[in-house]
């Protein structure tokens, strides 16, 4: 049975170059293609300077999905764009911290704080 995730995208209220991607449910190999499809147009559009993932409601991600975030970070960084994460629960935070992604991808406790950060240039990889 396929895992269910809810993915919705909206521009930030006062800045269309910032896209907020709300992710909830669970994301693993079974629905990773849906996740990739939802995010792909944003990655390909150079006018989207910041992709801000709101993890409120996300309960689980698998290691393959972690790899996807590493890919997103690297791809965006190559074109001077940013990946930012917000509202991760302890389990998700732990998974990112274990593999060390929290060392390169900025994470914030809430969306508003995250929105204020995107003016900084991404750390060189």
């Amino acid at each position: 049975m396929s895992t269910i995730a809810n993915i919705t995208v909206e521009p930030a209220p006062d800045n269309p170059s910032v896209q907020i991607i709300h992710l909830s449910g669970e994301v693993d190999e079974s629905n990773l293609p849906d996740f990739e499809q939802a995010v792909k147009p944003l990655v390909l559009d150079p006018s989207r300077k910041v992709l801000l993932f709101d993890f409120d409601g996300l309960k689980f991600i698998s290691s393959k999905v972690i790899g996807q975030f590493a890919y997103l970070y690297t791809t965006l960084a190559h074109s001077q764009r940013q990946l930012v994460l917000a509202r991760m629960d302890e389990n998700i935070k732990d998974i990112f911290a274990l593999v060390g992604l929290d060392q390169i991808i900025p994470t914030y406790p809430d969306v508003n704080t995250a929105l204020q950060s995107f003016n900084q240039t991404p750390a060189a990889a």
Partner: protein, 393 residues
Amino acid sequence: MKFLRDSLTKKALFLFTLLVGALVGGAVMLFREQVEAVSVNLFLGSFVGLLVLLFLLFLFDVVVPLRRVARQVRNLLTGKAYHRIDPMTIDEIGMFTHFFNEITKDLEKISYDVKERRRMSSELDIAAQIQRDVLPKEAPMAPGLDIVAKTRSAAEVGGDSFDFLQSPDGNQTFIYIGDVTGHGVPAGLVMVMVDTLIHAAVSMGLASSKDVLVHTNAMLTPRISARLFMTLVMLRWDASSQKMYYTGGGHEHVLVYKSKEEKVESIRSGGIALGMIPDNSKIIAEKEIPLELGDAIVLYTDGLTEAKNQSGEMYGLERMTASLKKYGYLPSAESIFDHMTQDFSKFVGEYVQVDDTTMIVIKYTGKDAGGKMKLAIAADESRVPNAEWGWGS
């Protein structure tokens, strides 16, 4: 006419009706002509003529189409060449002809799939053997250390790996355990690449585990998909000073059993996984693990801590830590390993393994105790229920 042609029964009924009609019609005609007697010749001739007509109809409408199908079915069953048949009728025999054509089309596809699967399975066996050949069979002596290591793949080709390497001057022993995202052939390929790069880095004489991982990561990252990565933790044993160091690459915890306090320290390996960013030098660091005689270190992959039992419960870090605390006092790495894996096997029961599992146990026996290393790779034991694992036996 299609109404009649699509069924043998209808055809038979039609012919019967025709026959009866012909007989009745003939009788009526004779009656009208007031013929009281019919010559034998006329009667026989009419009868035989009718029979011949019926025979010819039966021959071309039933026997010939049926024989055509039967011949090809016989060829199929006896392994001879067969071919598609063009249906002559649209009745039941025509339906069987279509059925034969469809079945043989599917059989050809299935046969191709089976051959293709056999070929792929054979190539997977070769890939699995290549991977097993990469894993260490014997290891250099590490005076003071007693080591046991075992790995088990969930698929023919796994993503877990470990290795033991000695520096060119013989004084440093590097021990690492790693886990590539996912499993199967892509993970296996990355695992082989990493092992090769680590060997190259150590043979260059790089002094610390951090330097080895920085070099390995720099060579690896541009060569693999950005979605793939390998978590890893590397130990470095300095034989002359009898000190142990570690560098983390986003891997699981390092468990250290402290024999004096009889407790377990769970150290986050830290760092960042290999393959995520080209330059990890500012994120990873080599640190010392203070060791005293009788202490033990356990390295493992998440296939162990994330293994589930029938109730869906995960084994977890807490259970692993508790198990090491219970058995860490045992005098040999092998005895610690066997008891810990017995605990693990009891917990997971017969739940089928879905991830690769690897564990290394290192017991600090002291400088004068000599070193021995025992290694085992669970070759081609994929899909074996956990209860049958020989880890503890």
